[in-house]
Amino acid sequence: MPANPDQLTELRAVCPGAKVVEEGGIEYVFLPDLVLPEGCQPARADVLLRFQPRDGYNSRLFFSSQIAPVRRVTTDALNWNANSVGMFERTWFAFSWRTVEGLSLAQMLTTHLKGLR
C-alpha cells in the first residue's frame, strides 16, 4: 500500500525533509536528520520508516546508527536485532519493537521512538 499523502504531510511537520523512497519493491519514508527523544546519543539520526508489514513486523524503524536511549550510556537495553542491514547503499540498524496495525505514519514513528525512552 503506498504512503498516504495526508499522513506524509503530517510527518513533515516533525521532519520537513521526509520523503517516500522505494527499493526492491518496498516503500519507505526517509526522515533525514530526525531529532530523537531528549537524552538519546546521538541526538539526531537519519531514519527509514518501513511502513508496510514485512518480516513479521507491522512496521520497522531503521536508524543510521545504533542509538543509546534516554538515561543510558549504552545501546544494550534494546534488542538491536537488525544490524548493519544494507539498504539504499547504506547500513541501517533497528531494534525489535512491535507496533499494532492501523497506525498513521506519524503514530508509527512516535510508537517506535517510545522504545528509546
Binding site: 522505494e22 519493491g25 518480516d55 536485532n81 537488525a82 544494507g86 539504499f88 525489535s96
Partner: protein
Amino acid sequence: MSVILRVPESIRQELLADLRRPHPHASERVAFAAVRLGNAGGDPALALVTDWWPIPDEHYVEDEGSGARIGREAIRNAMQRILDQGTGVLHVHLHEFAGVPAFGRMDDREIPRLVDSFVNTNPAMPHGMLVLSPGSATARVALPSEPLREAQQITFVGYPTTLTRLVRPRDGARFSRQSFLGLNSSAILASATVGIIGLGGGGSHIVQQLAHLGFQRFVLYDAQEIESTNLNRLVGATEADIRASRRKVDIAERLVKGIREHASVQKTAKRWQDEPRPLRSCDLVFGCVDGFDERRQLETTCRRYLIPLVDIGMDVHTRDGQAPRLVGQVLASVPGHPCMQCLGFLNERTLTEEAQRYGDAGEQPQVVWSNGVLASTAVGVGVDLLTNWRRRGFGPIYLSYDGNKDTLMPHVRLDYIARDLVCNHHRLNQAGDPSL
C-alpha cells in the same frame, strides 16, 4: 576517471528495432536513452541506461547534408524528460555494419553541442552520445563536471551479457581445450570483472574454477578468518592456514594466483555492505552468502548497478526419524528479468522466519560435494551468461538441487512464470546511486 556504460539488453534490442525503421525523409534515425549515475566519485564511474524513447517522425528536419537532423521539439522534449525524471540522456544512433562503430565527423561536430545543452539542464547526471552497431557500440559520456570521454567498456546486460571491449588473454593457446565456448571466449573471460561474495564452501570452489577458466579480474569479499570447522569444505585451505587464522580472502587470492599469477585480485576482508564500491565495477557476481535477507540485500545492490548475479545456497532439513534432506539452489538474477521474489525464492514466509531468529541464518550445515555441485553449476551458468555458448536464449534460471537423489532440476515454480515476465520489484528506472 574512467567510465563504464551499462545498457540492459532488452533496451538495446528495442533501440535497434526503432533505429532500423525507415523514415519518410531522413536516411537514419535518432533516439534518446535515459541514463543514471552509479558509483559517483569512484573509479570507474558507471553510466546506467534505464529507459529510452523514440523521436516522432515529425520531429525530424529535412536536411540533405546529414543522415538525420532532429528539430527543436525533439530536443525540448528530451530536456523536459531530464527535468521531470532527474536523469541524464544519451543521443543514440545506429551504424548498420559489423564491428566496433565510430562516430563520424558530423557526429563529432554536432552531437557534443547537444550534449552541452543536456549538461546545462541537469549537471548532476551523466550525458553523452552512443552509436550502436549490430553487435557492439561506442560511447562518449560526460560525467558531472567532466568533459566528454570515451567509455572504456560498454556492457549489454541480459541473457547473454556482452562485453564490447575485450582484452587479449595472456597465452591464449592454453585454453584450446575449451575453445568450444566460442571464438572470443578466452578474451571475454579475461576481460570480465567477476565478484565472489563469500569465500567459504561454495565461493572457494567458484574462485578456483574461474581461475582455471581464465578469468583475470577478481573482486573478492569475505570478512572472516578460517576456522577448523571450515576445513571440511573450503577449497585451497590447509592446516597451516588454521594455525595462522588466515583470512579467507587471502586463501582465495593465493588460490587464484597459484593458477593465474598475473590475475588482478581486489580483496576486501569486510562485509560487502560496509565497502560496496569494488562490487559495483563487477560485470558478473557470484553470491555465496548465508540467509535470505542477505541475498535480498545483495540482489538489490546488483540490480541497482545492472549486474547479473548468480546465487547458490544449500541447506539440510532434519525431521525426527527421517533421513536428513540435503537441498539447494542455483539461481540467476539478471536486471530487468525475474528476480528472487518473482521466482518465489524470496518470500514473506522465509524472510519472516529468518527475522524471528533475529537474522541468524543458523548453523548452516555444509558438505564439500554438494557445495561442489552447486558451485560448478553456477560457474557454468556464469560462463554461459558471458559467452552465450549454449545459445539458449532468454529464460529464467532457477535450479533445484536434491542431494538425496543426486539431481539438479529446473525448479517447479518456473512452470508458472511467464518467460517474458518483467520484474516489478527492481525496476530498471531505479538503477543508479540512491538519492536519499
